[in-house]
Symmetry: C2
Subunit: 141 residues, 2 copies
Amino acid sequence: MPDILHRVGIAAPIDKVYKTLTTLDGNRRWWDSGATGDASDGGELTFFKHVFKVEARPNEFVKWKCVRGSEEWVNTTVEFRLVYKDNQTFVMFTHADWKKPVEFMHHCSTKWATFLLSLKQYLETGTGRPAPNEVQVYVGG
Amino acid sequence: MPDILHRVGIAAPIDKVYKTLTTLDGNRRWWDSGATGDASDGGELTFFKHVFKVEARPNEFVKWKCVRGSEEWVNTTVEFRLVYKDNQTFVMFTHADWKKPVEFMHHCSTKWATFLLSLKQYLETGTGRPAPNEVQVYVGG
């Protein structure tokens, strides 16, 4: 099944990146400022009306399995794998197990890139671009 | 084989997007300001020391097949499929036929997103972010 892949390198310690991805406040600063729920291991998070089960291992990975939401996203898994090297924390990102490479998957791939750069910007400068103030990739969203 | 997928919607006529992708000057404005060669149908283009054979059909698609360059890119195909709808030109982008989803593929996926947003910005405002002035996605590139 097709996957969305990305990688960003962030000038921040690995535990700070991990903390951002496993706290509600952290995730509100780079992805969805309207997120609700519990972003820690075993928790349930809601972003953009999609519900995710969280699995996380400190300074190694964070996985969000989509359990409710749009047909395209249900049963897909968003994973952030963290590796510190070359004086930065690399986030190896995969949004796996899409059923088909539909047009919406193309859109989401570009959008994920902008959000991962928002994560990088937030951790490096203190200010991200979470929704609804995110980078627009087409006329209307 | 895994593919990189993206989509951007550009507030510009389809023929202007097509012209940008099939002229050397156009491609220098959003991707690689050091590009050389012939970007029209049947031509051979060099970007970042990679050589591509061009296949293009007016206002429909532009394909670049990598014939020389890094091991990861040789025999991959970069495709821009153009569709005008909802008052904008959508670029459905695929970089297809990677052998494996290596870390470099993750990197290139994020980088492609920034370049496609550079294409959008160039066509909408007159100024893109081609290399070497492109958006950085890690500390060092």
